[in-house]
């Protein structure tokens, strides 16, 4: 049976419903710029129908509608697009960070300016080339020493620059790990709240929006993937390891990796290793350990090859015009500090004697110190480092010069028996002493340096292939021609070719990262557009809906007035006939 008073509550219900609609529209408009906000809608539903009971006044059979109710606040979710977006944005973020880290060192490696390392290598070879044509020119020597010094500094500077950029990533890593840990905690907390709200049958729209934003961020940072569970929570995992399950977050921690120059590495708090396959951290590791690590290795190869090869040749040569005849006509060698300071194959500072003996018809010699103890010397054929008796080389039955290979030439002459064992005072031999120096010191790109003795005394540069020949530039020529020797890549390319190839390779790596980043970002943007298309707020639409709700609200209010008047008619107008 229809009830007039029920009409009042029906109108009220209608007013309240449309008021709710307006409130949801207000919420949408207010969040038009909120990142991750998904528009909502109050879904209206007709109220439960009531069977008309006691149809005594012949009003017909059937059910009476009871107006309108708000069924639910609907959220325009885009779960499918969310997943697609995250899988693209994590790759975009990965390549983007990789490119931006590499770009920091690109200026060093671009070789476009005259400051390029290749330029300095060429100058170095050209310096030797010039010196080979004019080996006694001290200005050329000073220039070459300067060029070589600049070259070592350039190599070192590049290596240091790579190391610095690698070390700077420690901060980047720890910041990102902190963010991931915090975000994981937030997801866990939101999971808890969402599950609670879902369990009482409501929809926590705004909490879910918040969680989606965090999940986007986690995907970007670490390539995390998430799976929605029936209770409303999500399981988040990074490359197979769980980050958040229900209300429990799992922590990441950083540590200094002793196997990788003590640079920061990341592991799970349970000790398992952390290997993101995409996201910013993956890009960071790829840039730091992959590309920059390889460049560092290449620089080290380059430096050690130059050091070894140049030193080998330089040590076999002689500085013209700087040959000393020491201890002429007796066998005492006086070796001075700093002059033969090359490795352990040298004899130390001090005085030495030459002993000779006749052994089964062959003259032999050895070096002894002032107390008669044999001293180890390196032989010129590099056959050994020994303090044993050595045969004195002869030609045509006469003793010839013996070059110890480290700057000391023993010139045996006259009566060899004069040197006899344990008699150090007289003899007819000349001991000639040529200063020979290592050109470079150090072993790799970080330690390479010019020999400081050469740096301050450029006249000690070896340019000749034999002692006492100031016009002989054969050694300088040999050093200049190291440029054309295939020393790198197992004998396949020259030092210059190797470095040029490395530079090009570095360029390719940056370009790959940049191109990939741009491609993935484009795809991610397209997906984001689609996502926005579904869930974004359109102010025109909201305005239209607002008007719609407003009109309905006004009509409901009018309805209330009509019912009020009807009641007025019944209460005040009925039963007063004839009054």
């Amino acid at each position: 049976m229809p009830n007039l008073f029920a009409g009042v509550s029906l109108a009220l219900q209608s007013i309240l419903s449309h008021q709710a609609s307006v409130q949801v529209i207000e919420h949408n408009v207010a969040n038009v710029n909120t990142p991750g906000y998904k528009r909502q809608e109050a879904v209206l539903k007709s109220g439960p129908a009531v069977s008309s009971q006691g149809a005594s006044y012949n009003v017909g059979v059937g059910q009476m509608g009871t107006g309108v109710v708000v069924d639910k606040i609907r959220r325009f979710s885009t779960d499918f697009y969310d997943m697609r977006y995250r899988s693209e944005i994590q790759s975009a973020a990965q390549y983007n960070l990789e490119a931006s880290i590499l770009a920091q060192v690109q200026a060093e490696f671009s070789e476009t300016s005259t400051n390029g390392l290749l330029n300095k290598l060429d100058e170095f070879w050209a310096g030797w080339q010039r010196l080979s044509a004019d080996p006694s020119n001290s200005a050329l020597k000073a220039e070459l020493v300067d060029v070589a010094n600049t070259l070592t500094q350039a190599i070192k500077y590049r290596a240091l620059n790579i190391r610095t950029v690698q070390a700077e990533q420690n901060l980047q890593i720890s910041q990102r790990v902190d963010s991931i840990n915090q975000l994981a905690e937030q997801v866990a907390r939101l999971n808890g709240e969402i599950m609670r709200v879902v369990s009482i049958g409501e929809q926590p729209n705004d909490l879910m929006d918040q969680r989606d934003v965090i999940l986007d961020e986690l995907a970007k940072l670490s390539g995390a993937t998430s799976f929605l569970q029936p209770e409303g929570d999500v399981i988040v995992s990074i490359n197979g390891h769980v980050l958040v399950q229900g209300v429990t977050p799992f922590k990441l921690q950083t540590y200094a990796d002793p196997l990788n120059a003590n640079l920061s590495a990341v592991r799970w708090s349970d000790g398992q290793s952390f290997n993101p396959s995409s996201g910013e951290l993956a890009g960071l590791f790829r840039a730091r350990d992959g590309v920059l690590g390889e460049q560092m290795q290449a620089l080290n190869d380059l430096a050690s090859t130059i050091i070894t090869r140049v030193n080998d040749i330089h040590l076999s040569g002689y500085a013209p015009g700087k040959t000393n005849t020491l201890a002429s006509n007796n066998t005492i060698l006086s070796i001075q500090a700093g002059v033969l300071a090359v490795g352990q194959t040298e004899v130390a500072t001090g005085s030495y004697f030459i002993e000779t003996r006749l052994d089964a018809g062959t003259w032999q010699f050895r070096m002894v110190d002032t107390t008669g103890n044999p001293v180890s010397i390196q032989l010129s054929d590099l056959s050994g480092y020994s303090n044993d008796w050595q045969d004195i080389p002869t030609a045509g039955g006469l003793p010839i010069n013996y070059d110890t290979g480290r700057g000391i030439t023993l010139q045996f002459g006259g009566d060899l028996s004069l040197y006899s064992e344990n008699s150090y005072t007289s003899g007819a031999a000349t001991v000639q002493f040529y200063e020979q120096q290592e050109f470079f010191t150090g072993t790799d790109a970080l330690t390479i340096a010019m020999n400081s003795t050469l740096l301050t005394n450029p006249y000690l540069l070896a340019t000749a292939s034999a002692p006492n020949q100031p016009g002989n530039g054969d050694l300088a020529r040999a050093l200049a021609n190291v440029r054309t020797e295939n020393l790198m890549n197992g004998g396949l390319s020259t030092i210059n070719q190797f470095y040029t190839a490395q530079t090009a390779r570095f360029g390719v790596e940056i370009r790959r990262a940049k191109t990939n980043a741009a491609d993935r970002l484009t795809v991610a943007n397209v997906i984001d557009q689609q996502r926005q298309s579904i869930s974004g707020v359109n102010l025109n639409e909201e305005a239209a809906n607002l008007i719609k709700a407003q009109k309905a609200f006004e009509a409901s209010a009018r309805l209330m007035t009509v019912i009020d008047e009807m009641l007025n008619t019944i209460i005040n107008g009925m039963g007063i006939v004839g009054r």
């Binding site: 290749l118 044509a133 016009g471 707020v537 305005a543």
Partner: protein, 296 residues
Amino acid sequence: MRVSDRMITNQMIQYMNDNKAKLDQLSNQVASGKIYQNVSDNPAQMSAALTIKSTLRTGQAYLENANRIDGWMKTTDQAFSQMSTLIIRALNLVQKGLSDTIGAHERATALAPEMNGILDEAIDMANSTFMDQYVFSGFQVNTEPYEINPVDNSQVLYRGDAGLMQHDIGTGQSVTTNINNSSSLQAMFNAIIRARNALQTDNRTELEASLADLNTAQNSIGDLRATNGARMRQVDNAITYLEKSNLTLKSLLSEKEDVNMAEAIANLTNQETTYRAVLEVGQRAISSLNLFDLLR
């Protein structure tokens, strides 16, 4: 398709950034004059340019060497030319000495000192220097190679060595720079000394013999000069080649590296127009009316 308000803004920002980046790239090209600023812009092209630059720099060093060697050889050539002249003068003197019209006294006092002067000049020539380095002393470039023996005055001492200088004038291309044939020079000195002594002692037989010696010396100096000349031609060819190839490489490098200014500026202007249009459209799209503006 449903278009939300954020979509329009995001899209606009994206377009503006893209166009700004293109504008930046083009203006960098115009400002620097180089097509590529970084290796990553075009690794293949850049590494080709690097190789060319490297070849250029090496070529420059070879060129400097070749020019120096050329100077050295010219000095050598001049010395030989002077020596030839001196030998001719010596030959004339000997001819004069052989003449019956001249007496023993005149031979010893007029002709012999003049011959001695020729010897001194010949030694001076053999001690020629190029940039303070002796060209005829082998590797002993700082040692004066020839000196008359002060004891008996009839022998020229050699203080140099047998060193032959090999120098590179191109990759894998080398040349022997110095002529180091002390025996030929000694033979020349000995012939002059012989003539001088014969004039001094008025020994006709010796004088006639010295004539033959001087002729031999003349021939061997001529041979040495020819050898030096042939090497000079080789060095000259190398210089011409190096200069030519430097030019070719420079234009090749310019092709790989340098911007075509007309094209770059046209592109830049074009891009500026595009950028302006994007801003114009963006301004309209972002500040466009919506229904809220019209409702009352």
